[in-house]
Symmetry: C5
Subunit: 326 residues, 5 copies
């Protein structure tokens, strides 16, 4: 589905143009065309491949729409794959991460973005870019930066949310008993962190090649912008790594807490058990059939025996309480 | 066993040729010979070594058929070892991974593929290549790419299958009690992941040297294709790494779940134990032989005692239920 | 908030100057201006950006104030982000680590430091620098070093404090029983180490590029100073890594200690249980209603039975004591 | 102890020569001397150092005989340390790994091998080399390769044996109860893997420098042979790494299996306990001394009570069986 | 404290010289001065800094005496920090590792060694060096090597001792029950390994830059000696890494052994419990008050009942023994 197709000259929007005119505008100097598609049909994508002379391998990748994040050079053009990540509700009402895909073809005078599986569009990016013509004058590489920056900025709330969940889990860990739910939550968090990492880490590696040493011709003038994106990505990556490590520790500590709690339960049960078995022993003794057991004939033998049982239990209870077993 | 022996010129099939004529075709410019063998005898392989002037060390490797994946340069020719992985049923009917081996000798004007231990052939690759003469015109390096791409594409269903199994294991983990079977499945998955990793990781490393910086002369014109293969391999590798890490976490969480379940069992047993020992104590008390125990003489002493036991148990039961011990 | 704004010439302080005069002094050779701000308003920062011609991306970073430590080159100027870490008391009176941020813009003839979220100022740095004019003559790069050195030196007490806490936890580990508090402390230490690591590790990596091979023009003359900072950072980093590894081991050993303690408790309880159930069995035997039980008719049958019970328990007690179960 | 001392010319054996004549042969072009020693005395080694002009540091290393695997350049000669690993029986009849040492000095026209602590000699290597004069013509570097290849080939049965042991341990793990022996075996396997790794990994690293980029002059013509050795080493190394990781997982899974088995034992014991305590309670009830307990006067009261006990136990047994507790 | 101050010329000792004359000797060609200090006062160190024209940052480092091992270039001189490690007894009589520090300043014609916190001096090094003038002729770099070699050689007994302790712990692990002491020993070993690693690893990294590629001018002629030191360090480092990994495994296996032992204790206790509760049930049955219990009237009812109890226990005991529960 075609979302928009616009020509720009010297950083200013010229006009929305029909797809057929693309080739005309592409030939003009200082002019570039920015096309946005959403889950295009085979024909729509082929048309673009023809207009912009895209490499068949890159088009094949964009068509299948299941790539890992990467940035590849094809001659003087670039092919970038980004994975925006959004938080959605799954069918059970649980939070889930939806990993979309944005394929971006960038040449000296065109930008083509192809969105898959994500509902978040780039109209904001386009609007912002058009409000800053002095930056947009940097050409198609700046548009690549702006799209990338937008995708990367959307990682922040996701990683913040995961960090908050981790902190909640940490607080609960020591305050309440260990439950199946807690372990499930930790496992779930781990899975989401891995999902996010798969979107972030390969992209970071790829963006790291757009500034500094040998840089694609296209990005020569906008290196500082790509370094900024890299910097954001490495901040997110650092947060992910940190959370992963804390999660591993949390899982281990949880296991220790469960064992500790087993210890405490064992002691408590043993204490209560003693409070039952000791009087049982006493009762057993006075249930013996010896002819000559003077206590049995006492007028208050029975209440005294009961009192003895209660007394012994009181002493035991007090000692267990002191030892914090009960 | 010779599967086929075909000469190509400018990307088009010339003819099936007898093995003896290979040396003639190899001398022609723009012409290359593509030979496929399956578990060749010593003589068959020696014959090829002679026709194509293969390096003895490479031939030795292909003969033994137990190499790790690699790509080696011998002068201007390449020797590649790939390990196709298939899912098969073992004797017990369990899924098992079969690791085959494909050794490929590539020179400027020949390709020789030697298959070991795998039933999956490359007739599809040959057919597809012959349908696209404009690509096949790239020569023997393109055939290497096509064979490699085919082997790598076959990894995807295997890794997808392992990921599905992991997801199933994850779901079961929190829903039902931990059993020996579950642990065995996790261990089994881990072993299969390691098997797959051994096929994928060294190949990825080797393919990474066929594009970008210093590249063998042979692959100069087809770098973008090898980058595509590399990209697929690193996607698979990422999935393997991710599954490995989740498996480690799953094993740890499983241990915690087992400990948790021990905790719960202990509590439940203790609760039922109390429901038996408390009335035993009461019975013991009324079994004492004191002369003067007024209750013993009551007309309804016995049913009252029984009622007392039942009542105490009812209260205990209710409290254990509230505390979720039963 | 502007803290100070001073001009220096040949390593000596010229005067406190008003913000408006900055551009005059910046033009003079051998002269540089050193400005310090604390959580500046948007206008204050914009004013500086204008006076010193700062890059918009760096200004944007300094404004938001949530960066990871880094050092970036913009043309012939540098933009450094440092994270000072202080130990503070949180609302519950627990020790907590406060991570501040210091953004430093350095050009050939200016230094601008922007502090966020930290109460520790740099008046000491300025005073020391002014006392050593022969060093300050090295210009703005030396000021960058002095600020960096000050931030890094403040890491030492923090890491020392964490190491001391770890040592205390280690000593307690083997001397007293494992408690929830201990595990919480270990977890807490781990979290603080991760916080510190996030301040130290990226900075170390960045400072490592200010000496040795290709170095920014600005730092050419002060490489040895930056190597010294790098050296301090790698000492801190080594201490952090070491503590992290010991913490992991400590967590594992703690788990083993908890299991061991479970073992001991089980044995102790079983021993006490035997001391109760064995006499109960004896009492049960003498509670049997056989017609012909000679002991029952003995004059001292009852005291002998009691003595027998006590005797058996004494023997058991002694054996349990020998076996260290009680 | 001198094993042999032979001169070769153009790949063909000239003669067994006395040690004193070495210096004569060494001077001839196209000629090299191959000396083999086994645990030489100080004088024997000093004699060789003099004849071949060996570097004192290398001779010192060969004398002490406790080096890690390495390959060092001294001018235009090489000093290689290899560690052959053999499986032997220790005094208790258990399999143990014996790590020997082979120090090889290689110059343009000599090879000196010094064996320590290993009973496996190199007569096979010499015989094979002499059967292939066209290869031996490559000179002393080829002899180095042949010795190295021989040592490396001997790693294969060792690593295969360890892998088989691991597989056996894996199979037993899920089929029978966890025992001390199993854990000891896993630990033992781990130790052997580490021993093997210490022989393999540093050698692999060292051999990796004998082909490809900057290569010692001596090895220029035999690079492909050293790459082959490297390849074998990396196959062994991969197998070791893989086994190590599986061992770690196996240890964790074993722990989980032990906990699981604890769970099952607890349940089984509790079930049997219930089968004893419930009839005890019933017996206790009919042991109460109430005047008015009609059942006591029934003619068949006693057998009915016993039947009741048996009946209750039968029901319990059946329920425990269904729940798989017994 | 000044230990010694000696001038050398062409590898031979000239004379012990007073500190004031240092500057005279330093100017002579082929002459160098070797000064040794132990915990020098501020003035003593300042004096040396002046005589040898040392860099203030290096002097500052040597003064504080708490550096990590490193080797830094200052112009054509080197500053090396080594950490000798000795085994000492602490106040409780336990073995402890004492980490000292040796700071070495080396210029073309001087060597200054500053010792901190270690009682092991270098008189042996000096004596050996003076006995080998042909080596000492290599100048100050050779002295640096000799000092370094001496410090590194002292690591061997320490690492050997730790390995022996690990082996002892391994043997005990499977032979006797797991105790708190064992875990403490493992933890203690780990801590010592980390201490040693902190002395060895950074030094290894630093020494690795003194041979091979770009090397400080000073070390040009003695590269092979530094490679030898590097080699020793990497042998020690390998041993440390190996021990660390075995320790981690040992900790895990210990945990499994503790769980296993818990399992065994539980079974044993349950068996003994059964031997008590089963006769208690029998006694309970014959304690019931049914009118009509024929056994009660048997002449030998009582001894038969006792015999029955003993018989049942004998059967149980035999079965438990067979099942290895007792």
């Amino acid at each position: 589905m075609l979302i928009s197709c616009v020509a720009y000259e010297n950083g200013r929007k010229l006009a929305d143009i029909p797809v057929e005119d693309i080739s005309d505008y592409v030939k003009r100097p200082d002019c570039f065309v920015w096309v946005a598609q959403f889950e295009p049909s085979r024909e729509e994508l082929d048309k673009m491949a023809e207009e912009f002379d895209l490499h068949p391998l890159a088009v094949e990748d964009a068509r299948s729409g299941h790539q890992r994040p990467k940035i590849e050079e094809y001659g003087d053009s670039l092919f970038a794959v980004l994975q925006p990540v959004e938080k959605i509700k799954d069918d059970d009402g649980d939070d889930e991460l939806l990993v979309g895909e944005v394929d971006i073809f960038v040449g000296p005078n065109y930008v083509l973005s192809v969105r898959h599986r994500t509902h978040l569009g780039f109209t904001g990016v386009r609007a912002r870019a058009e409000r800053e013509p002095e930056l947009l004058r940097n050409g198609s590489a700046f548009v690549l930066y702006a799209l990338m920056d937008n995708v990367v900025d959307r990682y922040f709330p996701v990683v913040d949310d995961l960090e908050t969940q981790l902190e909640t889990a940490e607080e609960q860990m020591f305050s309440t008993a260990s439950t199946r739910d807690r372990l499930q939550k930790l496992y779930d968090l781990k899975r989401k962190l891995m999902t996010l990492k798969h979107a972030v880490a390969p992209l970071m590696e790829a963006v790291g090649k757009l500034y500094g040493g040998r840089v694609p011709q296209l990005c020569k003038g906008t290196q500082e912008y790509f370094r900024d994106v890299y910097d954001h990505l490495s901040r997110i990556n650092g947060a992910i790594e940190s959370s992963r490590e804390m999660l591993t520790t949390a899982t281990q500590v949880n296991l220790a807490l469960i064992s500790l709690s087993e210890n405490e339960v064992t002691k408590r049960l043993a204490a209560w058990g003693a409070l039952i078995t000791v009087p049982t022993l006493i009762a057993g003794i006075y249930g013996m059939n010896f002819k000559n057991m003077p206590e049995l004939d006492f007028a208050f033998g029975y209440p005294l025996a009961i009192a003895f049982m209660v007394g012994v239990d009181a002493v035991l209870f007090w000692r267990f309480r002191v030892a914090k077993w009960i």
